[in-house]
Amino acid sequence: MEFKDFSLFIKDTKIGSTFTDALVSGKIFGTRCGRCGRTFFPPRAECPDCLEESIEFVEIPTRGRLLSFTAIFVPPAHYGIPRSKMPFAKVTQIPCPVGVVEVEGGLRVMGWIPDVDLKALQVGDPFEVQARTLKNGQVTIVLSPI
């Protein structure tokens, strides 16, 4: 599976298919430096401390707390609704909230927060991060209240 199945526009990266293949199997991979043991999420191919590519993939902790969130009512063009050509018609969109969860150990994970009432969300709520494959074949990350 290509990295493009996760990223909208970027397909070439050193951490590509290992990360996306893991998402398909329901795992969220970060990386760990083989020399100093520092862990990274988002995963990266080099350790900026050791300047080495001695990186291994590791599953990141999945439980944590909601650090912040929003819902984008005015989306960028790639998620926008084509303008309706029907006179007097209105098209409105109910956006899916997005947020950031700090998982145990301190790594931060951004993801969608589907099926949750925006007004019910609170910073600090206990959350879980999960890999999810969408109907269109894209893989992504979702955040769910525990």
């Binding site: 988002p42 009512f73 997005v98 947020g99 609170q122 992504t140």
Partner: protein, 386 residues
């Protein structure tokens, strides 16, 4: 610092949706205004620095060359400096370095952006790419989205309210309505701001700055040349730049712009003053929450009290520290590459007492605060009256 650096001329064209002018024509307006303010011409200028944030708005691969060409500044030095929405302050920093190092005596710093050649949704798309292209962009994050997360974090930590956010917009529109060069020079009510449509929860339309065309320019001079111009100089006393993570998610605290804190520390140290000595400031109110964070991160009020600070009208003229009495990015407008330079123009004119109904009486020390992106790079500059 090896040599002192003065601002001897400042100019800004009208900000707005400028369908009447191209980017190079906007640049010309600002440069001509700055040169006339200094009572000089380009013949007297040794070197030039140009700030443009993005090529995508103006469909130009070499926008600074196009503007430089239109000014006929050749063969003297000019190149582009980029630091997202802080490009203007970064160009000012490079201009300052050019003079402070002794490389040139008189330097033109230009900032310009023509943003409305593209549609609003395209502009939102372009600005959204200011996030992490791989790790944030797939989640539909936009610029308002990043600051919405800052706002939610600030509200959760300190009890800041949507009303307090809206009060920033009301203030900036109040002063913007008195600025003839502002993009949206009209007052708004608290109700109007609170009832405007949601852009990125909890930020509404009036929490967001404008997509603007515009340009601004300042002329810098060495101590030896500073008094050769039409009016009294204003001195750059302190300058600081700092950076932070690309992804806001990676920051220790989402409600603080660490780059602001660090850049301000450097600028205050260089100027030998503290925040309580600042008489007037322009801060980066790309969103209302950003202005509240700036009050705190620049030391104008304690951390967490920014909401109460605007509610108590402490940033109006007559309050503790008047902020964005030019209308700010919110009402004056935010042509990204021009913004940092336009802030310097405002402070220059405030310290010379030229701001009419929105003049801060007796202002002697000014500060500009300019944020690139969602805090990836920040420039803070401190100015003193001659």
């Amino acid at each position: 610092m090896k040599h002192k650096v003065a601002i001897v001329g400042a100019g800004q064209g009208r900000f707005g949706v400028r369908e009447d002018a191209s980017q190079r024509e906007l640049a010309f307006e600002a440069v001509a205004a700055a040169l006339k303010d200094a009572g000089t011409t380009l013949k007297d200028v040794d070197s030039m620095v140009t700030a443009v944030a993005a090529d995508e708005f103006s469909f130009a691969l070499q926008p600074s060359a196009q503007m430089h060409d239109y000014l006929e500044f050749f063969p003297k030095a000019n190149f582009r400096v980029e630091g997202a929405c802080a490009s203007g302050s970064m160009a000012l920093r490079v201009g300052w370095m050019t003079v402070a190092s002794g490389l040139a005596d008189v330097v033109l710093v230009l900032g310009a952006e023509k943003m409305t050649e593209v549609s609003t949704s395209q502009a939102t798309e372009i600005m959204g790419k200011g996030g992490d292209a791989i790790w944030e962009y797939p989640f539909g994050m936009t610029f308002p989205g990043f600051y919405a997360m800052v706002a939610r974090a600030h509200m959760a930590a300190f009890g800041t309210t949507e009303e307090q956010l809206a009060m920033v917009a009301v203030k900036n529109h109040f002063y913007g309505s008195q600025n003839p060069l502002a993009h949206m020079p009209k007052e708004i009510t608290l109700e109007k701001a609170l009832n405007s449509f949601m852009v990125a929860y909890p930020l509404k339309l009036y929490d967001c700055s404008l997509i603007t065309d515009g340009a601004a320019a300042v002329i810098l001079a060495s101590e030896e040349r500073a008094r050769d111009f039409a009016k009294s100089p204003v001195w750059i006393e302190g300058i600081g730049t700092a950076t932070d993570t690309m992804r806001i998610a990676d920051r220790d605290a989402l409600h603080t712009l660490r780059a602001t804190v660090e850049a301000a520390k450097k600028a205050y140290r260089l100027a030998g003053i503290g925040p309580e000595e600042v008489d007037v400031a322009t801060v980066h109110d790309c969103f209302t929450i950003a202005e509240i964070c700036a009050y705190e991160d620049l030391g104008f009020c304690p951390k967490g009290e920014g909401g109460a600070f605007i509610e108590d009208r402490q940033t109006y003229i007559g309050g503790k520290i008047p902020v964005n009495v030019d209308g700010g990015l919110k009402s004056k407008g935010h042509p990204v590459g021009a913004t940092g330079v336009a802030m310097a123009v405002e402070i220059m004119k405030q310290l010379r007492g030229e701001c009419g109904s929105r003049q801060v009486p007796g202002a002697e020390v000014g500060l500009t605060h300019n944020v690139g992106g969602s805090g990836q790079v920040v420039g803070v500059t401190i100015y003193k009256k001659d």
